[in-house]
Symmetry: C2
Subunit: 226 residues, 2 copies
């Protein structure tokens, strides 16, 4: 079998579109998030809770990436956010082109945050820049503390790490010290938020950080009005 | 950007090597398993427990697929199984060629079961036949009952489904009825084993099924000695 490696050209092509997306987001002073995790780490519940916390003050658009079904998009729509579903069929990650193709569905001028829920996968999404302002990775306590060292790329790329299902900590063997030590090695600058998306524990600190990032972004882009 | 789709040729190339692997496994009357799940569903603990149950009667070889680290291989070696580690670097699944390249590290004639722990990922591994006799997918109760319909390919391809972390059921919102109904739609022939790999609950039923499959395979290949 001849093996043709298309990895680099594919990633280069992705980067061009990601940079275009980033430019569009900046023009609209949008803070965009690329939210990544394993399947079942609680991304959708986390988004529901984030929207609830931000909801009254902020206008939120959500892009839902899923292999199949519109289940998550329906849950997000029920929270009152504008939502667009991308079904990737068998593709295991979102890429910048997929994001670019659905941006026309939003009135970007009327949105403060664009949140992209990536396909549940700790490997492939880490390689594809979508043009986002911030990468956020969720890990749930039920997955185990070894996941940061076993799937380093996604944790290295993150601007913040959310440790979800903290309410289940008493029932699982999650070595908090190991996880924090690993993150110190992999990505010492990323803050770690311990939360329970279900109960709301820790959500206020996360949302405070997110709002601070938005102010920073707007100050940088020369617009200081909120 | 021109986009060149290499999906089909890659999968065709994989199939040729998978068929060669299968022939080698059959020649050695090996029962081979391809074990798939999300990161953190408990594959390695499940293998530790399976090896413990089979250990005295059966000789077991294990191929550990991981993006990075040898953590899982070390745990499996400590159980007394022969183990070979494949680090895929950033690749998100094992393919038949990777398996083929490491088979020389085993004395296949002296092994009863070859267990392959795939990379933690519910999407990509489902597409790559490794030549295995049986596909086994783990889902943990903490991931949620929607995962079967959201990631259908891996559940459709499975010969058995393991519902792990059944001990955590009282603490999570896992809709058992929805999960069983979904599996009835997707793959009515695959048995579902409710287990706790940590406590050993349900492991005896799973291992009994596995031993039955081995007897069936040996009867089919004309060797009825165990």
């Amino acid at each position: 079998m001849r093996r043709i490696r298309l990895r680099h050209p594919v990633l280069q092509g992705n980067q061009i579109i990601a940079d275009q997306n980033r430019q569009i987001f900046n023009q609209h002073s949008l803070l965009s998030l690329n939210v990544m995790s394993s399947p079942g780490a609680g991304k959708t519940t986390f988004l529901e809770s984030t929207i609830q916390y931000l909801g009254n003050q902020m206008r939120i658009g959500v892009i839902e990436g899923d292999v199949a079904t519109t289940l998550d998009a329906e849950r997000i729509a029920a929270c009152g956010a504008e939502v667009v579903q991308i079904n990737t069929c068998s593709a295991c990650h979102l890429d910048a082109g997929m994001i670019s193709r659905v941006l026309g569905n939003f009135n970007l001028a009327s949105i403060d945050f664009l949140i992209i829920e990536n396909v549940g996968n700790l490997v492939c999404p880490a390689e594809f820049d979508l043009g986002e302002s911030l990468c956020v990775t969720l890990l749930s306590t039920t997955e185990g503390a070894d996941k940061a060292v076993k799937y380093p790329a996604v944790f290295q790329r993150s601007d913040a790490v959310i440790l979800n299902k903290i309410d289940l900590l008493p029932y699982v063997n999650f070595d908090l010290k190991w996880f924090y030590d690993s993150m110190k090695e992999l990505n010492p600058n990323a803050p770690i938020f311990q939360i329970s998306a279900l109960s709301g524990e820790g959500m206020a600190e996360w949302v405070h950080w997110l709002l601070t990032k938005r102010i920073e972004q707007r100050n940088e882009s020369g617009r200081d009005s909120m």
